[in-house]
């Protein structure tokens, strides 16, 4: 931790405090400084970290968190405030590129960010997040095995994120129209009988990787330009069957509910299917024989954080099974989380509906890609534009 130069006024103030307070207060005062200068954005201060987060540290805040939806769950926010006395300022980022953009615009304005998959390594390349010591987060070892030392969140041997949520990208299909056998072949959506019936979202690295996988590229990120062109040609062939390429994945759910489409492709298949099943929609998830991709998101501490101790406490809190159970099942969202111990806090029906019982089958399936690497984003972006303009 880099030291901080105190002003004379601060020295006098702290000296007076030290004279009057116990040696314990000395420790707390010193530890309130983090490596970015600690505290001082005029926010609140809270209680101290304890237990798993190492030595007692005074927490400063509010903590600015830039995340996907769900991290603003009232129970989660209230639980953190109750335990640590620090408020969380949550902002929805709406997508990894937007996250990068917001963080680049204001590198010290955010303490914790919530990227997906290979975007963690991109944030490292851009020098926007700092490494973490997984030993500070003991609940990570309760995670499903692949998420204990999750490779895409590790760069040059250092960890940069704690995993929180995941899901699979296969198909959601309407059971009244499509059988499980039909949906087991990934290429069924190219059948002309599904004209205008396949809903998807605008997520270029997902769909290019998926079609690459379907076409036999077991490491889609390493595809050559020729292979990439073939993938785009295949996607263009699919265009007559596409209902819409939505900007918001909730529109896939709306299409399946309204009968506009009979297949939802990608966009977070498993959690959308859980939500639709809760709404009594006749849908099922298919992991096609050709394979599927798992998405994983995590929490990272920014390089420019003003509240390092609080950020660490937040990451620890967010990896606990009880917190993740609130995230996994609430009134607005049902989504898979990485810690199977949430079973202790959910009903058996909820745990089952989330598909967490099947998760280990996904991890064991050799055709399901979990450890996604960063593609050539420029080449893939241009390829996707060819698809969209076709």
């Amino acid at each position: 931790m880099a030291g901080r130069v105190w002003t004379r006024r601060e020295l006098i103030r702290r000296g007076a405090l030290l004279a009057g307070l116990s040696p314990l207060a000395l420790a707390a005062a010193c530890s309130s400084d983090n490596n970015n200068g600690g505290g001082g954005s005029g926010g609140n201060t809270g209680t101290s970290t304890g237990g798993s987060s190492g030595p007692q540290e005074e927490l400063t805040g509010p903590l600015n968190v830039l995340a996907w939806d769900g991290y603003d769950n009232p129970d989660v926010l209230a639980g953190f405030k109750e335990r640590y006395g620090v408020d969380i300022n949550y902002k929805y980022h709406g997508g990894d590129p937007k996250l990068v953009s917001l963080l680049q615009q204001d590198p010290t304005g955010w303490d914790v960010v919530n990227p997906d998959n290979d975007w963690v390594s991109r944030l490292v390349d851009l020098d926007l997040i700092q490494s973490i010591d997984l030993a500070d987060y003991p609940h990570v070892q309760e995670n499903f095995e692949p998420f204990r030392n999750f490779e895409p969140f590790t760069v040059n041997g250092s960890a940069y994120a704690v995993p929180t949520r995941f899901g699979i990208n296969g198909f959601i299909y309407n059971k009244d129209d499509i059988t499980a056998d039909q949906a087991a072949d990934a290429f069924f959506i190219w059948d002309p009988s599904y004209a205008g019936k396949v809903s998807m979202v605008d997520w270029f690295d997902l769909y290019i990787a998926l079609v690459g996988l379907y076409m036999g590229n077991t490491t889609p990120e390493a595809m050559s330009q020729d292979q990439l062109d073939q993938v785009i040609d295949k996607l263009i062939e699919l265009k007559p069957n596409i209902t819409a390429i939505h900007t918001d994945r909730s529109d896939i759910e709306a299409d399946l509910t309204n009968g506009e489409s009979t297949v939802g492709w990608g966009g977070g298949t498993s959690d959308m299917a859980t939500a639709l099943k809760v709404d009594q929609q006749p849908v099922e998830v298919s992991i096609p024989n050709q394979g599927a991709l798992i998405w994983t998101e995590g929490l990272c501490i920014t390089k420019g954080t003003q509240h390092l101790a609080t950020a660490k406490a937040y990451l620890d809190y967010m990896t606990e099974a009880q917190t993740l159970a609130h995230m996994a099942w609430n009134d607005t969202l049902q989504i898979q989380v990485v810690n199977p111990k949430v079973e202790d806090y959910l009903t058996p029906d909820q745990y089952s509906a989330l598909g967490l019982e099947e998760a280990t089958q996904w991890f064991d399936n050799p055709n399901v890609i979990l450890q996604r690497q960063a593609p050539d984003i420029d080449a893939w972006g241009k390829a996707w534009e060819r698809f969209k303009s076709a």
Binding site: I242, A244, H246, T247
Partner: protein
Amino acid sequence: MGILLVYSFWHVTPSFAIEHTFNLNNYTAIFTEPLAYKSFLLSLRVALFSTVGAILIAYPFAYFLAKRAGRLQLILVVAVAVPFLTSYILRAYAWRTLLGENGIINGALQAIHVIDRPIQALLYSPLATGIGLLYLFLPITILPIYATLERIPDSYLEASSNLGATPARTFREVILPLSMPGVLVAAVFTFVFSIGEYIVPSLLGGGKQLLFSETIVLRVNSDLDWPGGAAMSIVLIAMTLALVALVGKRARKAGFF
């Protein structure tokens, strides 16, 4: 606007950093990259569709309002303006219910045996976007036309009739020329609002064929190519201003203003 212009000459690197070096690549890309120029042309077509459609619907309604509504006039004018009091997004979203495969329009057409199976292209298509824009900006089209028609003295119409002109000739030679300033203002408003609109295309267009506004958002939000997005925005603004100036000049020349 100045910031936008300066940005448009810069360049974004693969690591999302903005290089402050002057170049025209962002502008040439608009006319060479298929996604950009195709979306630009599609935007022109959709805006033209909604403008022409809105005027064709608005004109008879505005005429009725100005000349035939009698005591209903005030109520109808209020009725035209009332949609502005409701959420703009909600109004656009409502068209999904109307245009969908299981929507009201397809249902009605099937019920009266006009079609055997639902028309898929009604929703999530440029047509859907055009219909949504037409509906959204219809009040903006009606009100200027109504205002000009309302100012035409009834004595002009009576004189035309007394001189033996048929109703069609009166319309062609008296009403239409006198109402043209309103029609032009309405057309410019509707076209300008339509061509830059983003919410309606993103809700109804389906994203398979992007409009120019959607391509700008794609550049900025997904590619983080702010300079590219800025150049596209500048082109859109320049075209809009040029159109307004051109119409204004022609209108002045014709003695409308």
